[in-house]
Symmetry: C2
Subunit: 530 residues, 2 copies
């Protein structure tokens, strides 16, 4: 399949614009063909008009039809074969094994949402039957379920060129909810995006979905994303990226004549607390595990642990010796693009110049600028300095972490109490530690969306119980998750039907429960008919 | 119980400020004693500091303890007896029967949320057990449930001095979620607010709840509400009121260093469509019912039908004759305060001056300005004019409605397609009408939070299946409801626990399911233990 570098406007390809750009292989610095054309505002408007027209048809499709579409997207992505893997590797510098694994995750997510639709209970159907004799007023028949919001704008993320990009979790959950989707491809991997975008359109046509159910626009200019968010037909936005980028889209969405929700997953340092019992039992193993988690994928995960908090005692010193040794031995790696590498180097430098922060260890491996390579880096500070310097809580995207050495358990709690919102916090401890540090865990519960015990935050399992979203600035609203089946809720809202005859109700709300879903009927969960 | 007009800061009463105001009886124009003192910023800060301290204790209370607290609040409100009824009547001009009924609704809401807590399933517990042998990576044990957000600011509404005010749905759902609450009392009924606020504090003390679990501040100045929303400890806002007021709070919340969600129920005209089959069968009854719904409570409901859409044919003319007659005969009524009456009169006047709009009928009853009385009013326009004049969709709060006379079914659909968001839409029809006008219903589904068939939108039942929230500008996010048990979700967010031992998990997430709640375990709903 030859890449064309054009925008995918429903079933049409279009490149009316003048501005073009090239992707670049970060491992070599070489530009990659073809030239890609920034979408014009007219093209973006056309994509939204088609998305709106398509929505009116798409929302009448049955859950099984939409499930088949999602599964077919997965099949079409797999059918792209090595061409996809190779292109993604060359656009991101990520190794083949990682991209192959990420393809599996992406296809798995699509199939997971297909399963959610087959099951059908995700619509949260609630039924309260009429009580005509109730005093002082009769109770009407009320039935409520989730319905799709409308066309959704999805922004591809750079760090997951498949799983959080064109056919990633946002697109999969929006399509599953019954929304149509216009993706803004990430300019760091336009070719990967085009391959996946074309696969989605293949699948749409094969499954008799309306043209415009999916479109994709390219661009390096902020204008492209802005036009997408400002368009009156856009009903919600999915975004994974930087705090600055998320806030810019959020402000734009709030300044529309009709504000729309922006589901933005932005910034998190994912603190890891290592408590004394765990330190005594397996400090060395934790030091190795932490190094692995920090440097995994060259530290380019939103759940990379950017803070480790320990007690500054003999055990803590032994741990630090081990940690320094494993950072010294950690390999360098190619980052996604030169901009990310430069931000990483500046971020580390900025931390290191703060008084009370020490640049403890750099990996001894060589980092070649031409290969966009980053060097793992370990910094240290005291609990007191951490509390006094809010900048120490800023995310540094890349393979670095800051160890906060606390002089007491109370100091450790004060560090936690001082946190802003994060996606995750991790506690390494024994069950006894959990008892002793109960107050710390209580504090952390308020600060994050996911608490991990004796593990590491990287590795975000895609399932019903995952919550990938935390208090600001981790996300704009910690109520919602961008990973796992609950992500579908972002693109739906409840609609109540009062007094409607059976024949005019959606299947999910009819007495006989033809889809056999779980429903809350007169305040009891049941799969039974009414 | 003597009113003191002071602010309730946890268990303390406080009136440090210089600015005072008096409530006024709208039915007489007389000021009501005592003078009420605007809260100072220092008092507001103290309320939030107490709310934060109290939250750390309150969130450890068991569901049954919180349920007992909610029930006790209801008992304390009832124990206020006639003093509450009389004060509320004199501050609002609403009749005794209405206030008595509203007290029942308020107490009923508190008991309903107590029931939600006893049941316990509202936390949406989800469990995915570990799969240590999964390839390519083991699956960790993940368990997720809703937890409270923290201190919540609640703004009392003027039009429901009990049910949407100090101990109304927002406060009840926030307390039920495990949040502490600071209420901004509505300045139109400060005495009613004080009585209810003191009842809540009585209940808190009787139930051993921490001081600061509830506070209430008074004020006519916008500063009071602004300070409440800006305070760093405030984690969410509940508001029912005007579009302008809701937007102002929203912008303030968004401009905080950490944005917080504002759940604002604001503006809705609640269109009522009368289809030909229903018109033929019972046009006269619908005309009477519509008049009753428009003038109920002097039109001061957020679900008042402000638009009726009919086909302009012989049937439609007969309907109009009947509607005019019933508006002529409709009684005037005292509005909540002079400001609302003045806005009503101006709103009607503004509509009537728009070209193509006719002021069709005014009630023949006298409206005495000294009694703050409003006159029911019927206006008419064409479908075409409605589509061309966006101002015709603005809410007029009071006993008026605008009939849109459409020249065809297509014109009727075009009117619906043109709508912005509303809380409700109503369709009067036969089952055959529903078939013929299926496209109209599909359009309305996208515009509102509740669709009513053969009824009227006033009368918002408080139950699990109610959804009282629609697309903007009805609310800021149609995902959430401010009425019914699902309102509790606004004040909670999910937290996932990964790999935690049983002993450190909340009861709701433990294997044995000690609370017997419904949980999604490995993607199946069940009350069984894991």
């Amino acid at each position: 399949m030859e890449l064309h570098g054009q925008n995918l406007i429903g079933n049409d390809v279009s490149a009316d614009g003048q501005d073009t750009f090239h992707a670049r292989n970060p491992a070599t610095g070489d530009p990659l063909h073809p030239a890609v054309t920034d979408a014009t505002n007219a093209e973006i408007n056309r994509a939204l008009e088609k998305a709106e027209d398509a929505f009116r048809i798409y929302r009448q499709k049955t859950p099984d039809e939409i499930a088949a579409f999602l599964e077919r997207i997965g099949d079409e992505i797999v059918a792209l074969g090595d061409a996809l893997i190779e292109r993604a590797c060359s656009e991101t510098g990520l190794p083949t094994a990682r991209i192959t694994g990420e393809r599996g995750r992406t296809v798995g997510q699509l199939k997971l949402f297909a399963g959610v639709l087959h099951d059908g209970s995700w619509v949260e159907a609630r039924i309260d039957t009429a009580l005509p004799d109730r005093e002082p007023v009769p109770k009407p028949d009320l039935r409520c379920m989730l319905i799709p919001r409308g066309p959704v704008a999805v922004f591809g993320a750079s760090n997951f060129p498949l799983a959080f990009s064109v056919a990633g979790g946002d697109t999969a959950s929006a399509l599953a909810a019954g929304c149509t989707v216009v993706v803004k491809a990430h300019p760091a991997h336009p070719g990967t995006s085009e391959l996946v975008g074309r696969a989605i359109i293949e699948a749409a046509n094969a499954c008799d979905m309306p043209p415009g159910v999916f479109s994709m626009v390219q661009g390096t200019s902020n204008r492209v994303g802005e036009q997408l968010v400002k368009h009156t037909f856009t009903q919600a936005v999915g975004f994974t990226g930087s705090l600055g980028g998320g806030l810019a889209l959020f402000r734009l969405a709030m300044s529309r004549p009709e504000p729309i929700p922006v589901y933005a997953e932005m910034s998190s340092v994912n603190p890891v607390f290592i408590l004394p019992g765990a330190m005594a039992e397996r400090g060395e193993a934790i030091a190795e595990g932490l190094t692995g988690s920090v440097t995994l994928g060259v530290g380019q995960f939103c759940t990379k642990p950017g803070l480790a908090i320990i007690i500054d005692d003999d055990q803590g010193n032994a741990f630090m010796d081990k940690l320094r040794a494993s950072f010294q031995a950690a390999p360098t790696g190619t980052m996604l693009h030169a901009g990310i590498l430069s931000a990483y180097n500046k971020g580390v430098e900025k931390l290191a110049t703060i008084e009370g922060v020490e640049l403890s260890t750099l990996s001894e491996a060589e980092a070649a600028a031409i290969k966009t390579q980053a060097r793992p880096c370990l910094l240290t500070t005291s609990g007191q300095t951490f509390i006094e310097e809010p900048e120490l809580e800023n995310e540094v995207f890349g393979p670095s972490t800051l160890v906060v050495q606390c002089d007491s358990p109370e100091n450790m709690e004060a560090v936690a109490d001082n946190f802003e919102g994060h996606l995750t916090a991790t506690v390494h401890g024994t069950e006894e530690d959990l008892e002793t540090y109960r107050g710390l865990v209580r504090l952390l519960e308020r600060k994050v969306g996911r608490l991990i015990f004796n593990g590491f935050p990287t590795g975000v399992d895609v399932c019903a119980s995952m919550h990938h979203g935390g208090p600001y600035p981790a996300t704009l609203d910690g109520h919602f998750t961008s990973v796992g089946t609950a992500a579908i809720r972002r693109f739906a809202r409840p609609l109540a039907y009062q007094g409607f005859p059976q024949s005019a109700l959606p299947a999910e709300l009819r007495d006989e429960n033809p889809r056999g879903i779980f429903r809350l009927v007169n305040s009891k969960f049941t799969q039974d008919p009414v």
